[in-house]
Symmetry: C2
Subunit: 225 residues, 2 copies
């Protein structure tokens, strides 16, 4: 089988690291891609760097794109407060960053085409998540169609596939898979805040901790790492 | 009528400046957006800045996103040669930059959502052009669908429209409209090279000059400005 190359978008969190590890197990050559987009803190970027090294990826690029110039999210505008009261059904929280995934995937497509990669691995998950519009299956399906039309390789029939293996997984399943694949979970960073330790209260910490408790790994919860 | 806001992607060339002017004539508030993406030269960026000032736009942002980290195009990799022999039918030339328009529009969508704009003006043209995959009508139609699904405003039914008024215009029609709208054509920059004067030989110069000759404005051709 011809060796295939995957561009893995790495946020520093457990989902994207798990997606990258599935690609590695699958025998793909994996190039990591992370974004310094003006987020509140750089802890997640350091985590992404550490993970890329730990997983022995082929390469790891960090691209600067300053989305905090226009804010529009509590993650890129420090004057907005990150919610800590838990996820509210049918309400998109202010941690949603306008256009973020659309930009990240677009940059991934550019890198993939330039490097001859045939797949972009995404940690996107639409089960235990905050309801972001750009993490849903219909969004990804449409982006797949756009990927085909947007590129020279796509027009020639050799498309780049947007591959989101965790899209329909419960968070507990993601953690079980991460443990099986020996993802260094203790090195991942999920918290929206950039404290010395994860806050344990933001949506991201809550979703993570809840799943870890259910699978009996309280030792990996935010308050314990 | 409620005042509407348009984000106009400004490349420094005549097409995007004309699209911005149509939006202005239409009574829209216009915010210009340009990209320092690692292109060969910064002449087009200076042109975009001059045009934004000249047209008295509400605001003008220039965003840095370094696509030359991975090249893949003669416009972002100076080791590749820009073709000068004229456009060849059904061949996408090496001036095509992988993912460029997809990234630029994604950033435009992010800014539009954060600033409450309802339209993105694009100078994209699929008539007298180099055959880039990301300048074609099916690409734009699919991106419009994605724009709806990707954003909070889109999911709420208040979509951001991707508006490409020149999409099906011949270049001669674009120049006639630019002249009617008093676009300062002499301040626009189309050439792929960054010489003191436009080269007159690259595809971009050729398309521009041919149209200007046809409409009897040889005085605005590359060799005369």
């Amino acid at each position: 089988m011809m060796e295939q190359t995957t561009i893995a978008l790495l946020s520093g969190g457990v989902d994207s690291a798990t997606a990258a590890c599935i690609a590695l197990e699958d025998g793909q050559k994996v190039i990591g891609l992370s974004f310094d987009y003006g987020q509140r803190h750089l802890k997640e970027l350091q985590a992404a760097k550490d993970l890329a090294k730990d997983l022995n990826l082929e390469d790891h690029l960090t691209i600067k794109i300053n989305l905090s110039s226009w804010g529009g999210s509590s993650l890129t505008d420090s004057s907005q407060t990150i919610p800590t009261k838990g996820i509210q059904k049918n309400i998109i929280p202010n941690t949603y960053v306008p256009g973020r995934n659309t930009i990240f995937i677009a940059i991934g497509l550019s890198l993939a085409e330039a490097r001859g990669a045939n797949r972009i691995a995404l940690g996107i998950n639409a089960m235990d998540y905050s309801g972001y519009p750009d993490c849903r299956p219909d969004y990804l399906e449409t982006y797949q169609e756009l990927a085909k039309l947007s590129s020279k390789v796509g027009r020639e029939g050799k498309g780049i596939s947007l591959w989101a293996p965790l899209l329909n997984w419960k968070k507990t399943k993601i953690f079980k898979e991460a443990l099986r694949l020996k993802v260094p979970i203790e090195k991942t960073w999920s918290c929206y805040q950039g404290g010395i330790k994860p806050c344990g209260k933001c949506d991201s910490c809550r979703i993570r901790d809840q799943a870890l408790e259910i699978i009996g790994r309280k030792d990996l919860c935010s308050q314990n790492i």
